[in-house]
Symmetry: C2
Subunit: 128 residues, 2 copies
DNA sequence: TTAAAGTAGATGCATCTGCATGTATGTGGG
DNA sequence: CCCACATACATGCAGATGCATCTACTTTAA
């Protein structure tokens, strides 16, 4: 818990310094960019990111308002919708990564050897 | 991040099931119980828990309102105050621990061997 | 001694979160 | 076919958080 606090605080400081949106936005944009056709259903994003349903719903609102994603009706299921990344959204994800990547490297990578990082990942995986 | 999410969600579910106050309260109560005479200055709690100053200030308000701690003036420094655990506060910490301890054991302890836990702690310490 | 700078803590405001619940659509058993 | 139940997502409300700033007291240094 403390380690996560420390690391997160440092990364968020880097984000603030670069005037970037909240860190959490990255995860959603990333999942969308990875996904087929750059789109996912909200419940799929929810499963991938561990965001609570009501939080995701409102996070999508904010992303829409910033023009980073758009909602699209899905034919097969009248209850559902697609969340689609826009070009602006892809560009923003890339811009965020230009801070995020080096930040992770500085605050995590630089403190662990390759072997240690693998070990850590393996240990943490046991907790999920 | 994901591991912490998962574990925390499980522990918080246990807390909710036991109708306990937010998990964060525990850390403050614990630091106070550990401390000499059961009291600390807010800035000391801040350093120990990584709580932001403004969050701690209001968290203390809530603890006071529940009768778990009380504020006391400190003679030496007119700007400062002591935060002192009450008997109710000590009892609450114990009650919380009766859920928290087993919960940690179930969601963390049971998934790691003694050696793995030590390894994990050592790796995470490098990130602080 | 006294003004400038520092430290301890509180607080107004906007945003975010958790919780419960709402609306709309889909599905499966009788 | 249809009604009870399930699923997908939204939302009102209360409380929590982040940010900037404020007040009050202390220390420093000329």
């Amino acid at each position: 818990m403390r380690a996560r606090e420390s690391v997160l605080a440092r990364i968020e400081a880097d984000f603030k310094a670069a005037s970037l949106p909240p860190l959490g936005w990255y995860d959603v944009l990333w999942e969308l960019v990875q996904a087929d056709e750059g789109r996912l259903r909200p419940f799929e994003i929810e499963a991938r990111t561990l965001l609570a349903q009501y939080n995701l719903s409102r996070l999508i609102d904010r992303l829409v308002k910033e023009g980073l994603v758009r909602r699209e009706a899905v034919g097969a299921d009248g209850r559902g919708q697609w969340v689609v990344v826009t070009e602006t959204g892809r560009a923003m994800r890339e811009r965020m990564w230009r801070t995020y990547g080096p930040s992770i490297e500085a605050h995590v990578g630089a403190r662990l050897s390759e072997a240690e990082a693998k070990q850590l990942a393996a240990l943490l995986a046991k907790l999920r």
